[in-house]
């Protein structure tokens, strides 16, 4: 009896493409975002914004506050590419200075919103029960308020009426964050609720980890992707809030080159010098657009299922 011919063994390596290396969340996100053209354009604009902001702290063509560097309301020229405003200040210099304000407001708000929202969300999601009930109640109440207007009142009372905090970037960031922490808190709460049931949390508990360690070392890092996305979306909202306040004359005080305040200046002379209002409004719109594009890109990259 002839020996049974061995069955041809399929070449496993050729048939199935084995994962060559483990891809971390951030590498995976990076790979996806590289293919998202809009997000890349947004990232480039944001890069330019940050560079401008840094450069403007050391150098601008003219000092941002210097008046009468030429005739007032002068339209764009070779010396002053964006023209001069109603006080004869160089608009290009002021736009550059405004970039710095914008970055401070945006990044500052993203950080403080996270500092308020993440602990509350972690607490509510991890301990559930009455802690969750209380925190969720406040989240719901806060969602029902006209947030921007409460923030506006906060800025007004804290700096103008009580003189507790000088009117500046910090008070705006604080007021914004106190009224807009719910998005982050709600997101973190949801993530924590889901993550705390996972096996790795159980394993950590089995090995004797305390609550604090489980939350900080196991749950928080796994919720980081969506948190970054949410924090990114807080930036354009804060930037818009600052522009909104300054436009109404309740934001940063006068010589500060805030884009909103510049738009307000230009608005009054719009009929004969439209260049003054156009420069800051376009800068503001492009910045908001860039942050929204990057935010959308990040959201799709970190969680492709979580599409709006």
């Amino acid at each position: 009896m002839a020996a049974i011919a061995p069955l041809p063994q399929p070449d496993l390596a050729a048939t199935y493409e084995m994962p060559v290396e483990q891809v971390s969340l951030f590498q995976d996100a990076w790979n996806r975002i590289r293919r998202n053209r809009l997000a890349l354009v947004g990232a480039c604009i944001i890069g330019l914004l940050f560079v401008t902001a840094i450069v403007s702290t050391f150098w601008t063509p003219y000092p941002v506050w210097l008046q009468a560097v030429g005739p007032t309301y002068q339209p764009p020229s070779l010396h002053h590419p964006l023209g001069l405003d109603q006080a004869g200040r160089d608009i290009l210099s002021r736009i550059m200075g405004g970039a710095s304000i914008t970055v401070q407001v945006g990044v500052g708000s993203a950080i403080i919103v996270s500092l308020i929202g993440i602990p509350l969300g972690l607490l509510a999601g991890f301990y559930r029960g009455w802690v969750d009930t209380v925190i969720s109640f406040f989240i719901n109440i806060w969602y029902g308020i006209p947030d921007l207007l409460v923030a506006l009142i906060l800025v007004f009372v804290l700096s103008d009426a009580l003189h507790l905090i000088p009117r500046g970037v910090f008070v705006i960031v604080l007021a914004f964050s106190l009224t807009r922490w719910m998005d982050v808190a709600r997101l973190v709460r949801g993530q924590t609720l889901a993550l705390r049931e996972r096996e790795f949390v159980e394993a950590a508990r089995m090995s004797g980890a305390r609550d604090f360690r489980i939350v900080v070392r196991h749950i928080f890092p796994n919720a980081l992707g969506p948190i970054i996305v949410q924090a990114t979306f807080a930036i354009p909202a804060a930037v818009l809030f600052e522009a909104f306040l300054s436009f109404l004359g309740l934001g940063l005080p006068s010589p500060t080159p805030s884009w909103g305040a510049m738009a307000s200046d230009g608005y009054h002379g719009m009929d004969f010098a439209p260049h003054i209002v156009l420069a800051p409004t376009i800068a503001l719109s492009v910045t908001l657009m860039a942050f929204n594009w990057l935010g959308d890109g990040l959201r799709d990259a970190f969680d492709p299922r979580m599409r709006h």
């Binding site: 029902g144 308020i145 006209p146 009142i153 209002v277 409004t281 503001l284 719109s285 594009w293």
Partner: protein, 314 residues
């Protein structure tokens, strides 16, 4: 309307009342941290006059008593009187201004939903054609442009350049009272949100038109408008309705700056004017109105929700 719905609406109304009291109390207490004299305008110099004025407004009482008096007033629908214009009752003033703001807000909402839905549906139906590309690019750019920037551009074009181009025969005059003064503010307020609604509608419509039941509707030979509107659009509306709440809040807060730019005598203009004039009683009153409005608008949205999605019951 089932019994459950009624209970639900009742509960929500209670929550709205709580939120309104919470918000306006916070603002009341915040503003009353400011020393009492600051509540009065600077023209009254003699100590007797100041004391008389403080007494007139009850500002010489301890804070808890002032607060109790204020809450009693609010329950009776009385928000007190203006600090700057003595004798002007705030409630009727704000009701009149709310109707103006509501008109602007209504048309802005019309722009948002009408234009947003139409653009979104058309873009989805003509996916990957030039129509889709134009509509999608417009919405991707549009939802980042803040409404006050749109308002400025609108004024610049319709007020300034139109005046020049038409030689002063046809142009926009900021203000309120004539029907032709409605569209520009409504567009400025509604367009950014319309762009957002268009994006949402397109995405959800693209999913819906590929489902089996829509294919069935096509297959049994229904007219295109019936398939699109009654079958596909109705289900695609669900994600759009979920953002209606924040959207209405956005329109209400956005109207503050829009009313100031266009000179519309609504709640938003009153709000800023009163803050700058330090007429704190009006500021507190406006807040009470805004908090109630935002709450009621959100409630209205949640009541519409089960009409579109019968799976949701309260």
């Amino acid at each position: 309307m089932t019994r459950g719905t009624a209970t639900y609406i009742g509960q929500r109304l209670v929550l709205i009342a709580i939120t309104t009291v919470f918000v306006s109390s916070t603002v009341f207490l915040l503003l009353h941290q400011i020393p009492g004299n600051a509540f009065l305008n600077e023209t009254r110099n003699s100590p007797e006059a100041v004391a008389a004025a403080l007494h007139h407004y009850g500002l010489d009482l301890p804070l808890p008593q002032q607060y109790a008096a204020w809450v009693r007033g609010v329950i009776h629908g009385d928000l007190g009187e203006s600090l700057i214009n003595r004798g002007v009752a705030i409630t009727p003033l704000l009701i009149r201004e709310t109707s103006v703001s509501a008109t602007v807000g209504f048309f802005a909402l019309l722009v948002t939903i009408g234009l947003g839905l139409i653009l979104g549906v058309i873009a989805a139906l003509r996916q990957n054609t030039w129509v889709d590309y134009i509509a999608s690019s417009a919405s991707v750019v549009g939802y980042s442009i803040p409404s006050f920037v749109l308002a400025i551009f609108g004024l610049l074009i319709a007020g300034h350049y139109l005046y020049i181009w038409t030689g002063g025969t046809f142009y926009y005059v900021p203000g309120w009272g004539k029907p032709e003064q409605i569209p520009l503010p409504a567009l400025a307020l509604g367009l950014p949100y319309a762009a957002y609604v268009a994006r949402l509608t397109r995405a959800s419509m693209l999913e819906t038109i590929r489902t089996d039941y829509v294919r069935t509707a096509w297959a049994k030979g229904l007219r295109p408008q019936v398939v699109v509107i009654r079958h596909a659009l109705r289900n695609s509306l669900i994600p759009v309705v979920t953002i209606l709440g924040p959207l209405i809040t956005g329109i209400i807060t956005g109207s503050v700056v829009i009313e100031n730019i266009f000179g519309i005598p609504g709640l938003g203009k009153e709000f800023i004017t009163s803050i700058l004039a330090r007429d704190y009683n009006i500021v507190i009153g406006v807040f009470t109105f805004y908090a109630a409005l935002v709450g009621l608008a959100n409630l209205a949205v949640d009541v519409i929700y089960p009409v579109l999605d019968p799976r949701i019951r309260y």
